[in-house]
């Protein structure tokens, strides 16, 4: 090969150890040739038999779960799936495009309530109502686009807080649609004659299939679809444009990316993810209440993507599993855990323990695991010589700007 410039100026790397400051090749979910960890590589779509086998295994486990785990676990899993869908959406926005949003709970609310209202009030068939609800969430994200397209970073983040507060106001006041403070019961989804509810009773392989067991499969399908779609977006033309907007807005514009339109577009897309997460969570709850869609939910999403790993789909999923399962695990096993106090004994309660662990996890991940939980996996299997050959001669990314 003929390297064009300054062959003189490239010191030879000696120790092929990890830990070069390759900032985050993972932010783009796209493997740089060679540098890849086995697991994730195996999870990529491709023809390699190993990958196919791994996917099959994942699928088998997912299918088997409802036959073995009790309702509590299924429900926890479903919450995690919903959180994962929402987190993927916010990762598209915050991780990939660099736009902060503290208002995502609002779009969950829009999705959940639209589903309820469209199916109960307008009598739409439930699958159609679900699709329409996602679209409504997108439209409401679009209505916010004058803000979402113009503001950046912290300003956008705080501006989106308005969505939470105004959203709550609407949820409480628009009673005919939202049911006010009581919320509304959620009609169960009915797909090809299968009702996602406890009745009519259904027994599969000697296991009673209630609403949670049935929803489990719906959740898996929705999450898989959402993840695959997001990966496609991130690795495709829009993903590049989004990353460039994040890193260098003006350059993006000059390269032909309509920046404001793209910002608004990503916002719409991520609100649709929020909407979908909302529909799923409504189906699990069986009743929508305004209370749930508050600020804390939004903050959880941000913590989720940081813990999991910014900008990647896998990060969102892993983070969501962590953040939404942790408190439930602690509460569930509160009796068995040593740190957890008897009611009223003044010690740390399970809920508090969960919050402390969760706050600490955010801090710890940022301090010790740049790239999040997913980044940790990445680093374990990184570094090939070719990378290093180039890494050696890199000026610090910022130094000429």
């Amino acid at each position: 090969m003929s390297e064009p410039t300054s062959t003189a100026g490239t010191p030879v790397p000696e120790t092929p150890t990890a830990g070069t400051s390759i900032p985050s090749a993972s932010t783009r979910g796209k493997p740089t040739r060679g540098a890849f960890r086995p697991l994730r590589a195996a999870l990529c779509f491709g023809a390699r038999p190993l990958r196919a086998a791994l996917w099959l295994a994942v699928l088998a486990v997912a299918v088997a779960v409802p036959f073995y785990l009790e309702g509590f676990w299924l429900q926890a899993g479903l919450f995690a799936m919903s959180a994962a869908i929402g987190a993927i959406g916010i990762n598209l926005l915050t991780g990939a495009t660099g736009q902060l949003s503290l208002g995502h709970a609002f779009f969950l609310a829009v999705g959940a309530y639209s589903y309820v209202s469209l199916s109960s009030d307008l009598g739409l068939p439930t699958p159609l109502a679900a699709v329409a609800a996602v679209i409504v969430a997108g439209v409401s994200g679009g209505l916010f686009s004058p803000i979402a397209g113009r503001l950046k970073g912290a300003y956008l983040g705080i501006a989106t807080l308005a969505l939470i507060f105004v959203g709550q106001h609407i949820l409480f006041n628009a009673e005919p649609v939202t049911g006010g403070f009581n919320g509304r019961p959620v009609p169960p989804m009915e797909l090809f004659g299968l009702v996602f509810a406890d009745t009519p009773e259904l027994v599969v392989l000697n296991v009673p299939f209630g609403s949670l067991e049935r929803l489990w499969f719906l959740g898996i399908a929705l999450l898989a679809g959402a993840a695959v779609f997001a990966r496609g977006v991130l690795r495709g033309r829009p993903g590049l444009a989004m990353n460039t907007i994040r890193d260098h807005e003006i350059a993006a514009g000059v390269m032909g990316v309509p920046v404001a339109r793209y910002r608004a577009g990503v916002f719409v897309l991520s609100s649709m993810y929020g909407g979908l997460a909302g529909v799923l969570v409504a189906l699990v709850f069986q009743q929508v209440v305004p209370d749930y869609f508050g600020m804390l939910l939004s903050l959880d999403y941000l913590a989720t993507i940081v813990i999991g790993g910014l900008g990647s789909v896998a990060g969102a999923v892993v983070g969501a599993a962590f953040v939404s399962l942790l408190p439930q695990l602690l509460t569930r096993y509160s009796d068995a855990l040593p740190l957890v106090a008897e009611p009223g004994s003044g010690g740390v309660s399970p809920a508090e323990a969960a919050r402390i662990l969760y706050g600490a996890a955010v801090v710890a991940v940022v301090l010790f695991l740049p790239g999040g939980l997913v980044g940790l996996a990445t680093r374990l299997g990184r570094v090939r010589l070719k990378e290093l050959r180039w890494a050696k001669s890199a000026p610090a990314p910022a130094s000429r700007r």
Binding site: M1, E3, P4, T5, S6, G9, T10, I22, P23, S24, A25, T27, R28, K30, T32, R33, G34, V228, F229, A230, G232, V233, R235, G236, R237, P238, G239, L240, A241, N243, T244, R246, D247, H248, I250, A251, A252, G253, V254, M255, G256, V257, P258, V259, G265, L269, E387, W390, A391, S393, A394, P395, A396, P397, A398, R400, R401
Partner: protein
């Protein structure tokens, strides 16, 4: 500032007629052929609060030529680029490129017309690989949106493959073919500059704007870059507008030069002529600017 007057000399002197270097290896009918339009900058003024960065500046870039824009620091060269690429809005005046009036367009609309640029300070997302950076250059030529990319429609895949091949071709041409899968931030400065140029080329531009392409490079790299730009012009026959302080390089490759000072055009014409212009020497070159100047060879 003392009163700068508009210089004599033909402001619209057509540079093509004075080409020092005939475009030898040029495919038939590139230069000025197939309707490559002129870029006509006329009377463009840009004011910022209390400051006139461009003051009724006018010049024309002939189709297929390399036109250099030079002038002291703060003369308004980059501002001019920013107006041409839609980053700044001109206070008054017009910029016509073919049938289009650029001053009323947003950056992405200008890009859509085939105007590509590089930046005085490298503007590459450092975490993206070279390939991704170049693919971004294809943005205006590709169509895949959220839906088709998300669903991985066959059209999007085909598009990615086709344009990926062209990206590889351009990367090879620009000498960054081996770096395609490396995050840009890890590359040496000189290579980054090439990537920027390659990215601009990936837009399949009709007009290429280069802002100080050889700044911060040593003699060897300057030569490389200059040759690359030459080669671009020869292969593609596109117009190039160039800002550069390296007079050696300007002398070598420019067909025509426009000199700005305090936002005004103080001279223009063929390089040798401009170089001898006392006004230009006074305002810009000083005693060091001659062809035998220190930077010398490009």
């Amino acid at each position: 500032m003392d009163g700068m007057t508009h210089r004599r000399g033909e402001p619209r002197a057509h540079p093509l007629r004075r080409l020092r270097m005939p475009m030898r290896n040029q495919p038939v009918g590139t230069a000025g052929g197939d309707g490559l339009p002129e870029l006509v900058v006329s009377e463009v003024t840009v004011r910022f609060a209390g400051l006139t960065a461009l003051d009724a500046a006018s010049f024309t870039v002939a189709p297929g030529s390399v036109h250099a824009l030079i002038g002291p620091n703060g003369a308004g060269k980059s501002t001019c680029f920013n107006v041409l690429s839609g980053v700044y809005r001109a206070t008054s005046g017009s910029v016509r490129f073919g049938g289009a009036e650029l001053t009323s367009l947003r950056p992405h609309q200008v890009a859509a017309l085939g105007v590509a640029r590089t930046f005085q300070n490298i503007a590459l997302p450092p975490h993206l690989t070279v390939r991704d950076n170049l693919m971004l250059g294809r943005h205006r030529l590709t169509r895949a949106g959220f839906v088709s990319a998300g669903l991985r429609l066959p059209s999007a895949r085909r598009e990615a493959v086709r344009h990926g091949a062209r990206v590889a071709e351009i990367a090879e041409f620009a000498g960054v073919g081996d770096a395609l899968s490396i995050p840009v931030g890890l590359l040496p400065y000189g290579v980054q500059k090439r990537v920027e140029l390659a990215r601009a080329l990936c837009m399949e531009p009709r007009l290429l704007l280069l802002d100080e392409p050889v700044a911060g490079m040593n003699g060897g790299e300057r030569r490389e870059m200059t040759a690359l730009i030459q080669s671009v012009r020869e292969s593609l026959g596109i117009s190039v507008l160039l800002v550069e302080h390296d007079m050696g390089m300007v002398m070598r490759i420019a067909d025509a030069v426009t000199v700005l000072d305090f936002g005004r055009r103080i001279a223009g014409g063929p390089p040798e002529e401009v170089q001898r212009d006392p006004e230009v020497i006074r305002a810009y070159l000083g005693d060091f600017g001659g062809p035998s100047g220190e930077r010398g060879e490009a």
